[in-house]
C-alpha cells in the first residue's frame, strides 16, 4: 500500500537506502527500480512538505490576526 503520511514515506526512503547499503551484488534492474521508487517518494514528500508548510503559514497568519492587543488599563 502506498504510504501518504510524511513520516511513513521517510521510513520507506530509509528502507531503500539501507537496502543499497546491505547489497553485496547489486542487480542493476532491481537497483534501478529501487532508485525510481526512491525518486518518486522524494518528489511526493517535497510536495507534501510544501503543503504542510503552506498550511502552517496559513494557521500562523490566522493566529496573528486573532491576537488583538489587550487594553493597557481597565480604567
Amino acid at each position: 500500500m502506498e504510504p501518504t503520511n510524511l513520516t511513513e514515506i521517510l521510513k520507506e526512503l530509509e528502507k531503500i537506502n539501507s537496502w543499497f547499503d546491505q547489497q553485496q551484488e547489486i542487480d542493476v534492474e532491481q537497483g534501478l527500480e529501487k532508485i525510481r521508487e526512491g525518486i518518486r517518494l522524494v518528489k511526493a514528500s517535497r510536495i507534501r512538505l510544501k503543503e504542510i508548510e503552506n498550511e502552517f503559514e496559513e494557521i500562523k497568519k490566522e493566529l496573528v490576526e486573532d491576537n488583538t492587543p489587550l487594553p493597557n488599563d481597565i480604567n
Binding site: 547489486i26 537497483g31 534501478l32 532508485i35 517535497r46 512538505l49 500562523k60 493597557n72
Partner: protein, 502 residues
C-alpha cells in the same frame, strides 16, 4: 313593780308580736315593759316620759296598755254563753273539721320555745320531744326533712335548743305537736363545738381555699347589699361609700335569729341572676351565738362559685364566721367594706390628678428627648459620612491597585504566550527544514547509488554466466563474457587473464 301587770304586759306583747309578725323587742323592749309595770302611767305625758316609749308608740299602743294597767284588757275573747244560742243556729262539726279549725287557729301562734331534746329519731322526717328542765314538761315536736337540711345542726338527745314553730294537732292521734321551722343551738360551748366541727368539714371540702377567691372588680358600680334595713350598719355603709356613682340594690334580710339563714340564702339566690358587680353582706358585731346564722353550711355553700365577688363585713369576736371565711373578701365592719370598694376609685382619682399635673411636663420632656436624639443622630450620621468617604477612597485605591496587578499579569501572560508561540513556529519550521534536508540527503544518496549514472560516466559491468564479475579468479581463458554499457551490451571472449601482482 307589779308582777301581775308585768306578766299581763308580756302576754299582750307576745300576741302583738305574732299579729304584726315582728320580734318581741320591736313591740317593746324589756326595760320599757318593766318601767311601765312599775310606774303605771295614766296620761300621755307620763307615757312619753318612759324610756323607749315615744309619741309613735303611744298613738299605736297607748290605749291598749292603759286598759291593761286598769286590768280591763281581756287577752282571749270569751266565747258566747251556750244558753244564748238557738238550737237551729248551732253549727255541729266533725272531729276532722274541728281539728282543722283548731289547727287554723293555732297556726298564727308562732313561738320560740327553749328546752332539751329527748327521744330524737329520724324516720325520713324528724321526730323528738322538747323537755323543760325545771318541771319535766314535755312538748312533742316534728320537723320536715327539707327544713332540717337548712338548719344543719347535728341534733342529739340532751342538746339545749331554741325551736321556732307553731302548734298543730296531729289528727290521727289527737296529740299536739310543735311543727318546727328552725332550730338554734343554745349556749356558747355547744355553739363552739358545732362551729369547729363545721369549720373542719368545710375546710376539708375546700370551701375556704385561697384559689377560690375572686379579686374585687377594679371599678365596681352596681352593688348588691344584703343586710337588715333596721340595723345601723346600712347607714355606716352609705355614709362611708364615696360619691362614685354607685347603684345600690338593698335586699332587706334578717341577720340574726332562726329565720336569718332562710332569708339570707334567699337574698343570695336573688342576686345570683341580677346584674351586679359585687355582692356585699354586712352585719354589726356580735357574739358567736348572735352570728350563728353565718355559721350555717347551706349559707356558706350558697356563695361558692358565685358569679360576682362577695365581700362581707361582719363584726365578730375570736371565731370568724364561716361565711366570712368562704367570702372572697372579709373585713370586720361595714365602714371597712366601704373603704375597700372606694379604694380603686380613690386611686383612680389620684392617678387622674397625677396625670393632669404631669402630662405637660412629660410632654415637654419627651419633646426635649426627641430633639436630643435627633441632634445625636445628625452628629452620628455626619461622622459616619466622613468615615464612609474615607473608606470609599481607600477602597478605590485598593481597587485600582488590584486592577493594575491584573493588567500586569495579563500583559505578562500575553508576552509568555507570544514567546511560546514564536518558539512553536520556530521548532516546527526547523523540523520541516530537517525533513527537507533529509530528503535532499536521500536524493543525493539515491543519485550516488544509481547504477545508470556510473555507466554514463564510462564505467561498465562485466557478467559471466549471468553473474557480476568482481575478480579475475572467476574467469578462465576463453570464457564467454558479457559487458553492459549505458546504452547496450557487448558479447566477448576472455582471451588472456592477467592477474595483478600484489
Amino acid at each position: 313593780m307589779s308582777n301581775d301587770l308585768a306578766q299581763r304586759l308580756r302576754v299582750w306583747r307576745q300576741q302583738k308580736s305574732l299579729d304584726e309578725k315582728v320580734e318581741l323587742y320591736m313591740i317593746m323592749q324589756n326595760v320599757t315593759l318593766e318601767e311601765i309595770a312599775e310606774k303605771k302611767p295614766k296620761t300621755k305625758a307620763e307615757f312619753i316620759d318612759i324610756k323607749g316609749f315615744g309619741e309613735k308608740k303611744y298613738s299605736k299602743y297607748g290605749l291598749e296598755i292603759l286598759s291593761l294597767i286598769n286590768d280591763e284588757w281581756e287577752p282571749i275573747s270569751l266565747f258566747t254563753p251556750y244558753e244564748s244560742k238557738d238550737t237551729s243556729e248551732r253549727e255541729i262539726l266533725t272531729v276532722s273539721d274541728f281539728l282543722d279549725k283548731v289547727n287554723a287557729t293555732l297556726k298564727p301562734i308562732q313561738v320560740f320555745v327553749q328546752g332539751e331534746i329527748t327521744g330524737f329519731k329520724i324516720q325520713k322526717h324528724l321526730y323528738f320531744s322538747l323537755k323543760d328542765k325545771r318541771d319535766e314538761s314535755v312538748l312533742q315536736c316534728f320537723m320536715w326533712e327539707k327544713d332540717f337540711e337548712m338548719t344543719q345542726i347535728e341534733l342529739q338527745d340532751g342538746l339545749e335548743v331554741i325551736l321556732y314553730g307553731y302548734p298543730e294537732i296531729y289528727k290521727l292521734s289527737g296529740k299536739m305537736t310543735l311543727r318546727v321551722a328552725s332550730i338554734e343551738l343554745v349556749g356558747e360551748g355547744a355553739l363552739k363545738k358545732a362551729y369547729d366541727a363545721l369549720k373542719k368539714k368545710l375546710d376539708a371540702e375546700g370551701c375556704f381555699d385561697i384559689a377560690r377567691k375572686k379579686l374585687l372588680p377594679a371599678y365596681p358600680v352596681r352593688l348588691g347589699v344584703i343586710t337588715s334595713k333596721q340595723g345601723a350598719v346600712i347607714n355606716d355603709l352609705y355614709t362611708n361609700l364615696g360619691k362614685f356613682g354607685y347603684k345600690i340594690t338593698l335586699y332587706d334580710s334578717r341577720v340574726e335569729g332562726a329565720l336569718a339563714v332562710r332569708e339570707l340564702v334567699k337574698a343570695i339566690r336573688y342576686f345570683r341572676s341580677k346584674p351586679i358587680d359585687l355582692l356585699i353582706v354586712i352585719r354589726g358585731g356580735g357574739s358567736l351565738e348572735s352570728l350563728q346564722a353565718f355559721n350555717n353550711e347551706t349559707l356558706v355553700k350558697s356563695i361558692l362559685d358565685y358569679p360576682v365577688p362577695v365581700i362581707c363585713g361582719i363584726g365578730h369576736d375570736k371565731d370568724v364566721p364561716l361565711f366570712c371565711l368562704a367570702a372572697d373578701m372579709s373585713v370586720s365592719t361595714p365602714t371597712a367594706v366601704a373603704r375597700e370598694i372606694n379604694r380603686t376609685w380613690e386611686i383612680a382619682i389620684q392617678r387622674l390628678d397625677f396625670y393632669q399635673t404631669h402630662l405637660m411636663s412629660q410632654f415637654t420632656n419627651s419633646i426635649h428627648r426627641t430633639r436630643e436624639i435627633s441632634e445625636k443622630t445628625v452628629n452620628w450620621s455626619m461622622i459616619y459620612h466622613q468615615k464612609l468617604k474615607h473608606t470609599d477612597s481607600s477602597l478605590q485605591k485598593l481597587i485600582s491597585h488590584f486592577l493594575s496587578i491584573i493588567s500586569t499579569t495579563i500583559r505578562h501572560c500575553e508576552k509568555d504566550l507570544k514567546i511560546s508561540s514564536d518558539l512553536l513556529w520556530k521548532h516546527f519550521k526547523s523540523s520541516l527544514e530537517t525533513i527537507g534536508n533529509k530528503l535532499t540527503q536521500f536524493e543525493k544518496e539515491l543519485q550516488n547509488n544509481n547504477p545508470e549514472r556510473q555507466l554514463k560516466l564510462g564505467y561498465s559491468l562485466l557478467f559471466s554466466k549471468n553473474r557480476i564479475v568482481k575478480s579475475v579468479n572467476q574467469l578462465q581463458p576463453n570464457d564467454p563474457i558479457q559487458i553492459q554499457l549505458s546504452d547496450g551490451n557487448v558479447h566477448a571472449k576472455a582471451e588472456e587473464i592477467i592477474k595483478k601482482e600484489t
